[in-house]
C-alpha cells in the first residue's frame, strides 16, 4: 500500500503515523460513489468564482488568464479590473499553472496530472493529458530506456538507474492519477514542458498532441517535486524541492543540475535581462547568482516567509511575492529587495504584470490589481 520510494525526508517522518492508521485505507471500498470523478466533471458555473482560490495568473496577449481550485479559469479583458469564468473547462480539479505563448494558444496544468489546452485565448479548454496517460508516457519511456540499457553498452550504474526508473514508472501507473502537475511553460505554439510532483516532467514538440517523458532527461533521481518551469530564448529553468534547480540551454533537450547553496524548496527561479539568476523559495530564501549558477549570494527578504512567486516587470525591475501577500521589489538587478508598502492581501500564489502596467496578484481570495501609478511611485522612493 505504501509507495515504495517516498523520496522526501518529511515523508519518512510520517511513516509512523501512516502505519498507525494504515488499516483505514483498506476499508470503504464498498462505498457508494455516485459523485463524479473530478477529472470527468466539467468545472461548474460558480457564483463565487472571482473570490475563490486562484493559483496562477498569466497574460494571453492583453488578456489576463488565471486558474485555481475546482477547475476555475478566470479571464479579464480590462487588465484585471473585472473577471469572468471561462466558458468551458472539462475538469474540476485544482489547476496550478497556466501559460500562453501566444494570445490565442495556451496550456494549463493541474491536479490528477491534467494538461488542458485552449486555442481561443482561454475561453474554452480541452483535455490533452491526464495522470493515467502521463504515467503511460513515463512507463513507456522507462521501458524503452531499460530495454536499451539491457541490450546496450551502458555501465552497471546506468543500468541500475534505468531499472529503478522503470520500477518507479510502474509505481506511477499503479498509483493512478494522483500526482499533480505544478508548472507549465511553452516556448511557442509547438514546444512545451510540464513539471510536477515526484519529478514528473513531460515535454511536447507538437503543441501537446504527443508527449515524451523528461524523467530520464532531467537529472532528478530522487524524484523531487518540481514546482516551476520558466524559460526564454536562451534558457529553460526548472525549480523544485530540496534545492533542486535545473537548466537547459539547448531548448529543452538536455538538462543539467545547478548546485545551489540552499537545501530547501525553490518555488521559482528567474533570469534577469543581464543574465543574472534569481532563485526564491521557502522561508524567505532569495539567492542571486551573477555567474550562471557557479556562485550565489543571499538577498535579504526581511521575513522568513515562503517566497511563492516572482516576475520581471517591463522596466526590468523584479517583483517577488511571499505567501503572506507581502511584495518585494528589486530595482538593482536583484542585489537588494525593498518591501512595497501596499497593504498585504490575505496571501499570494502568483503574479503577473498586466498590459497597462498594473500588477495582478492571485491568491486565496481571488485576484487583486495594484495600479501601475503605485508601482511607479515606489520606484521614485
Amino acid at each position: 500500500m505504501m509507495r515504495p520510494n517516498l523520496p522526501s525526508t518529511r515523508r519518512t517522518a510520517l511513516t509512523a503515523a501512516i502505519l498507525a492508521i494504515a488499516c483505514l485505507g483498506g476499508v470503504g471500498g464498498a462505498l457508494a460513489a455516485p459523485i463524479s470523478d473530478l477529472l470527468d466533471l466539467p468545472a461548474p458555473v460558480n457564483a463565487r468564482a472571482v473570490r475563490s482560490l486562484q493559483l496562477a495568473v498569466t497574460r494571453a496577449g492583453d488578456r489576463l488568464v488565471a486558474v485555481g481550485e475546482h477547475g476555475n479559469v478566470l479571464l479579464s479583458d480590462d487588465h484585471g479590473r473585472n473577471w469572468r469564468q471561462a466558458r468551458r473547462v472539462p475538469v474540476s480539479v485544482a489547476l496550478t499553472d497556466v501559460h500562453f505563448p501566444t494570445a490565442q494558444l495556451g496550456w494549463a496544468v493541474g491536479h490528477s496530472g491534467v494538461v488542458l489546452h485552449s486555442a481561443d485565448g482561454g475561453e474554452t479548454w480541452a483535455r490533452q493529458l491526464d495522470g493515467k496517460l502521463a504515467a503511460q508516457v513515463v512507463v513507456e519511456d522507462a521501458r524503452k530506456r531499460a530495454g536499451e540499457s539491457e541490450g546496450g553498452n551502458l555501465d552497471a550504474g546506468n543500468r541500475d538507474a534505468a531499472a529503478r526508473r522503470l520500477r518507479e514508472a510502474e509505481g506511477l501507473v499503479a498509483d493512478g492519477p494522483d500526482k499533480p502537475f505544478l508548472g507549465v511553460h511553452f516556448a511557442d505554439a509547438e514546444r512545451g514542458w510540464v513539471v510536477g510532483a515526484y519529478g514528473l516532467a513531460l515535454a511536447t514538440k507538437d503543441g501537446g498532441k504527443s508527449w515524451t517523458s523528461l524523467m530520464g532527461t532531467i537529472p532528478n533521481p530522487r524524484g523531487k517535486h518540481l514546482y516551476q518551469v520558466r524559460g526564454d530564448a536562451n534558457a529553460l529553468l526548472v525549480a523544485g524541492e530540496q534545492g533542486a534547480l535545473f537548466r537547459s540551454t539547448d531548448g529543452g533537450s538536455a538538462f543539467s543540475a545547478l548546485a545551489t547553496p540552499y537545501a530547501g524548496t525553490w518555488f521559482g527561479a528567474l533570469r534577469t535581462r543581464s543574465d543574472t539568476l534569481l532563485a526564491f523559495g521557502l522561508r524567505g530564501n532569495a539567492w542571486r547568482s551573477a555567474d550562471g549558477g557557479a556562485s550565489w549570494e543571499r538577498i535579504d527578504a526581511g521575513q522568513p516567509v515562503t517566497l511563492a512567486a516572482g516576475r520581471t516587470l517591463a522596466d526590468d525591475s523584479i517583483i517577488l511575492g511571499d505567501a503572506s501577500g507581502r511584495l518585494l521589489r528589486s530595482t538593482d538587478g536583484g542585489r537588494s529587495l525593498v518591501a512595497l508598502t501596499v497593504a498585504p492581501t490575505s496571501g499570494l500564489t502568483g503574479l503577473v504584470q498586466a498590459a497597462d502596467g498594473a500588477l495582478i496578484l492571485s491568491g486565496p481570495r481571488g485576484l487583486t490589481r495594484i495600479e501601475p501609478e503605485f508601482l511607479v511611485a515606489e520606484v521614485k522612493k
Partner: protein
C-alpha cells in the same frame, strides 16, 4: 341547561332578610353560605403560595427552546456527545481600538480575559480556543519537514521580537478570519458551553453567566480595548437582564388598567378589589410554578401579565354586574349572588376556553412553548377561583361606594327610559349593526378584510426576518456586537452543521471526502452561505501544509495513505473517535428563514441524490441547523395550533350557546382577527417563531371571552322573545360596556410594551394589543351583524 340564572336582572331585594339564602345553584349556596370560610381559605392559600413564589427562578435552557422530537434535532442529540462545539458557544471578540493585536498590552488583556473565562462554570474547557489556548497552533514548513507550536510561543515575553513571532505564527495558523480578524484589529476567545456544569451537575445559570461576562467587559474595556460578545448564552442573558425593565412595563400596564377601571366606575374600593383579586391570581400562579417544578423563562414571563389582564376583564364584568344591582337597590350580598348566577357560567366557559386554548400549545414539540402552555393554563384555572368566586364574595362584603352605585343606576335609568329613539349614541351606533343595511356593510367589510388579510398572510415568514438576535432590538449592544463579528470574521456566528455518517473508519476515505467536497461546493453557491469547512477542506489545507505550505497542493489528495496521515492531525470537531461521523460546517450570513430554507433544501436534495446506506448526509446541528429544524416545527405547529385552538373554542362555544348559528357568530370574527393578525405580522416584518407562535393562540383564547359575554346575554334575551336589536342592546348595556372597557384598557396596556428593550416583547405587545382591540370590535360589530343573518328574532330559541 337551565338559563334561569342568566337573567340580566333579578328581583330587587333591598333587605337581606327577604332573600332566600337557599336559592341559587348548589355551587352558589356552597360558596356564598360559607363566605368566611372561603375568604380564609383563599387567604391561607395566598400566604402559602406567596411564600412558595419566592423560590421561583427565571432562567432559560438551550434544549428547552428546540424541538427535541424533530428528526434533525434527534440527529443532533444522537451525535452531540461525539462532536465538540456543535451547539452552544460564546464568541468573545477583543478589539484593539488603536493599532493591531500584535501589542504586548493587548495580548496581555486577552490572556487575562482568557484565563477568567476558563474558570467560568459550564465552560467546556478542553474545547476553548483563543490565541492563548494550547489547541490553537501554527504549522509551518522548514527544510526538515513540518514544524508547529502554540501561536503564542512558550518563550513569549512581550518584546518586539516575540510580538513579531506571534504575528508570523498567526499568519501560519490558518485562524485568520476564524479566531483573528483579517485586519488584525481583533481576536476571538471561543467559549463552548455545556448545558450542565461539570463540577456540580447543575444547569447553567444564564443570567449569572451573562452578568459575569458584563463584569469582564466592564473590567477590561477601556479607551484601547473593546469587547464584543455573541452567542445563545448572551442573548438569553441579555433577555433575562432586559426582563427587569419588562417588569416596569408590567407595572405601567397594571397602573393603566387600574386607572381606567377607576375612571369608569368611580369606585375606589371595588376597583382595588378587582385589581387585588387579579393580583392574587398572579401570586397563586407564581407560587404554583415552583411547587410544580416549573420556572419562568423569557417567553413565559409574559404569562403572569396575561393572567392579570384576563382577570381584570372578568373581574370588571363581576363588579359591573354587582354595581348595577346595588344601584337598583339590591343588597350587596344578594347583588353578588345575582351576578354570580348570571355570569358564572359565561365566565367559567370563557376561562375554560382560554385554558384549553393555551393547553393546545402543548402539541408543539418545543418545551418552552409547552411550559408556557402549562403556565398559562394554570394561571387561567386559578382565575376561576380568584375572580369568579373570591371576587364576588369579597364584593358581597364591601359592596360598592354609594356614589358609584347611584351613578351606575342613573346611567341605566337614562338608557332604559330613552329606549326607543334616544339611546346612548355609542350603544345606538353599535345597535345599528343588527339592522340589515349596516349588518350587510359590516359583513361585506369583514369579507373584504378577510380576503385581503388571507392573501397577505400567505407571505408570512417562518423564523427570523432580521440578522443577529431578533429577540433584541437592532441597535442593542448584542446586535451591534453581532454586526461586528459578521463584518470582521469569515466564520459568522450562524453555523449550520451537516453530519455525514459513514461505515466505521471511513470518515476520511477518499470517496467520503469527495462527496463532502461536492456538497460543500453546492452549498457555497448559495447566496446566504459565507464559507464552509470540513474534513475535505482540511485535507486540502493539510495537503498543502505537508508540501511546504504551497497552495498549489490545495486539493484533496487521491492517496489514501496521505489522507490517513492527515486525519491524525485533524481537529476533533471534524470527526469522531470511530471515524464513522464527519461534519460539514456551513457558516451563514444570517439566520433568516430564507437563508436556512435554502441550506436545508440543498442538503436534502444532495442527500436524496448522493446518499446511500454507506454514506448518509444528516441535517442538522449548529445554532443555524437547530433553528432550521425549529422553523420547520413552528411552521407545522402554526397550522396545527390554529386548527386545535379553534376546534376547542368552537366546542366550548357550542356547549355554552347550544346553537351552531351562535357559534358561527362568535367564532367568525375571531377568525378574521387571526387572519388580520397574520397579515399585520407580514406588514411589520415579524416572523412566526418560538416567541410569536403563542400570540395568535393567546389572542383567540382571550378574544373569545368578549364574544361569550356578549352572546350569552343576547341569547338569553332572544329567548325571552326580544328582537335581536333589543336583545343586543341589553347585552351591550350589561356586558358590552365592560367588553369595550377591557378591550381598550388591555389594548392600551399591552401597547406600552412597544417601548420594551426586548424586541420580541415589543412585537408581542403590538400583536396582542391589535388582537385585544380587534376582537373587541369583532364581538361588538361583526357578531351582531352576523347575528342579523343567522339569529332570527323568533320566539323559538335556537335549539
Amino acid at each position: 341547561m337551565s338559563h334561569a340564572h342568566a337573567m340580566p336582572a333579578g328581583v330587587v331585594i333591598g333587605d337581606l332578610a327577604a332573600f332566600d339564602s337557599r336559592s341559587g345553584s348548589l355551587g352558589e349556596r356552597l360558596l356564598f353560605n360559607n363566605r368566611l370560610v372561603i375568604v380564609v381559605l383563599c387567604l391561607i392559600t395566598t400566604l402559602a403560595l406567596g411564600y412558595q413564589s419566592l423560590g421561583l427562578s427565571l432562567n432559560a435552557a438551550f434544549e428547552k427552546m428546540i424541538p427535541t422530537g424533530h428528526p434533525y434535532i434527534a440527529n443532533f442529540l444522537e451525535n452531540r456527545s461525539q462532536l465538540a462545539g456543535m451547539g452552544n458557544t460564546l464568541r468573545i471578540a477583543v478589539e484593539a481600538k488603536e493599532g493591531t493585536i500584535f501589542d504586548a498590552d493587548y495580548l496581555d488583556t486577552v490572556r487575562k480575559i482568557n484565563d477568567e473565562l476558563f474558570l467560568l462554570p459550564g465552560v467546556d474547557r478542553p474545547y476553548m480556543k483563543s490565541l492563548w489556548t494550547p489547541a490553537v497552533r501554527w504549522t509551518g514548513v522548514t527544510e526538515d519537514g513540518l514544524d508547529g507550536g502554540p501561536v503564542v510561543p512558550d518563550d513569549y515575553d512581550g518584546s518586539p521580537d516575540s510580538l513579531e513571532q506571534v504575528r508570523l505564527n498567526v499568519e501560519r495558523s490558518g485562524e485568520i478570519g476564524q479566531l483573528v480578524a483579517a485586519n488584525y484589529k481583533s481576536s476571538i476567545v471561543l467559549v463552548p458551553l455545556q448545558e450542565k456544569i461539570a463540577e456540580t451537575g447543575a444547569r447553567i445559570d444564564y443570567a449569572q453567566l451573562s452578568e459575569r461576562i458584563e463584569e469582564l467587559r466592564a473590567k477590561y474595556e477601556n479607551d484601547r480595548v473593546s469587547i464584543h460578545v455573541t452567542g445563545f448564552a448572551k442573548v438569553v442573558g441579555d433577555l433575562l437582564a432586559g426582563l427587569q425593565q419588562v417588569m416596569v412595563f408590567f407595572a405601567i400596564a397594571i397602573a393603566i388598567c387600574t386607572a381606567v377601571l377607576y375612571w369608569y366606575t368611580r369606585c375606589l374600593r371595588s376597583t382595588l378589589l378587582v385589581v387585588l383579586c387579579s393580583m392574587i391570581a398572579v401570586v397563586w400562579l407564581l407560587g404554583l410554578l415552583p411547587t410544580l417544578g416549573y420556572e419562568l423563562d423569557p417567553y413565559s414571563v409574559l404569562v403572569p401579565f396575561l393572567v392579570f389582564a384576563i382577570g381584570m376583564s372578568h373581574g370588571a364584568q363581576k363588579m359591573n354586574g354587582i354595581m348595577q344591582d346595588i344601584g337598583r337597590g339590591t343588597h350587596k350580598l344578594v347583588a353578588a349572588r345575582y351576578t354570580f348566577r348570571r355570569l358564572f357560567l359565561a365566565g367559567m366557559t370563557a376561562l375554560l376556553a382560554d385554558a384549553v386554548g393555551f393547553a393546545v400549545l402543548m402539541v408543539i414539540d418545543i418545551q418552552v412553548i409547552q411550559d408556557l402552555a402549562v403556565t398559562a393554563s394554570i394561571g387561567v384555572a386559578v382565575l376561576i377561583f380568584t375572580n369568579l368566586v373570591l371576587l364576588p364574595i369579597l364584593l358581597s362584603y364591601t359592596g360598592v361606594s354609594p356614589v358609584a352605585a347611584e351613578r351606575s343606576l342613573r346611567a341605566e335609568t337614562m338608557e332604559a327610559n330613552d329606549s326607543g329613539h334616544g339611546k346612548h349614541a355609542f350603544w345606538a351606533f353599535l345597535d345599528l349593526f343588527t339592522q340589515r343595511k349596516w349588518a350587510t356593510i359590516a359583513v361585506a367589510a369583514g369579507v373584504v378584510m378577510g380576503v385581503v388579510g388571507l392573501a397577505t398572510s400567505f407571505q408570512l415568514k417562518i423564523g427570523d426576518t432580521d440578522p443577529g438576535a431578533p429577540e433584541l432590538r437592532a441597535d442593542s449592544r448584542y446586535n451591534r456586537d453581532n454586526a461586528f463579528m459578521v463584518a470582521n470574521y469569515a466564520a459568522s456566528s450562524d453555523v449550520y452543521i451537516v453530519m455525514v455518517k459513514t461505515p466505521q473508519y471511513a470518515c476520511a476515505h477518499y470517496d467520503t471526502l469527495m462527496s463532502v467536497d461536492a456538497l460543500e461546493r453546492e452549498l457555497q453557491q448559495l447566496p446566504g452561505v459565507e464559507a464552509t469547512s470540513s474534513l475535505a477542506g482540511l485535507a486540502k489545507v493539510s495537503h498543502a501544509g505537508m508540501n511546504e505550505g504551497s497552495l498549489k497542493w490545495f486539493e484533496i489528495p487521491r492517496s489514501q495513505d496521505m489522507l490517513n496521515a492527515i486525519i491524525t492531525r485533524a481537529p476533533r470537531e471534524l470527526f469522531n473517535q470511530n471515524c464513522d461521523l464527519t461534519t460539514v460546517y456551513v457558516y451563514l450570513k444570517d439566520h433568516k428563514a430564507d437563508t436556512l430554507t435554502s441550506v436545508v433544501n440543498t442538503v436534502e436534495a444532495f442527500a436524496a441524490q448522493h446518499g446511500s446506506d454507506e454514506i448518509r448526509f444528516l441535517n442538522a446541528a449548529g445554532n443555524a441547523g437547530i433553528e432550521a429544524a425549529t422553523n420547520i416545527v413552528v411552521r407545522k405547529a402554526n397550522v396545527e395550533m390554529l386548527f386545535l385552538v379553534y376546534a376547542a373554542v368552537i366546542i366550548l362555544a357550542f356547549i355554552t350557546f347550544r346553537s351552531w348559528r351562535a357559534v358561527i357568530c362568535a367564532v367568525l370574527p375571531l377568525m378574521l382577527t387571526s387572519v388580520l393578525c397574520e397579515a399585520l405580522m407580514v406588514w411589520l416584518n415579524i416572523g412566526v417563531k418560538v416567541a410569536t407562535l403563542p400570540v395568535i393562540a393567546l389572542g383567540v383564547g382571550i378574544g373569545v371571552d368578549y364574544a361569550l359575554y356578549v352572546m350569552t346575554v343576547t341569547l338569553a334575551q332572544l329567548k325571552h322573545g326580544m328582537s335581536l336589536s333589543e336583545a343586543y342592546y341589553k347585552a351591550l348595556l350589561f356586558t358590552g360596556k365592560v367588553v369595550v372597557l377591557t378591550g381598550i384598557t388591555l389594548g392600551i396596556a399591552v401597547a406600552t410594551w412597544t417601548f420594551s428593550p426586548i424586541k420580541f416583547q415589543a412585537d408581542m405587545g403590538i400583536l396582542l394589543a391589535f388582537m385585544f382591540v380587534w376582537n373587541m370590535l369583532g364581538a361588538l360589530i361583526l357578531l351582531p351583524a352576523l347575528g342579523h343573518f343567522l339569529l332570527r328574532p323568533k320566539k323559538t330559541v335556537a335549539i
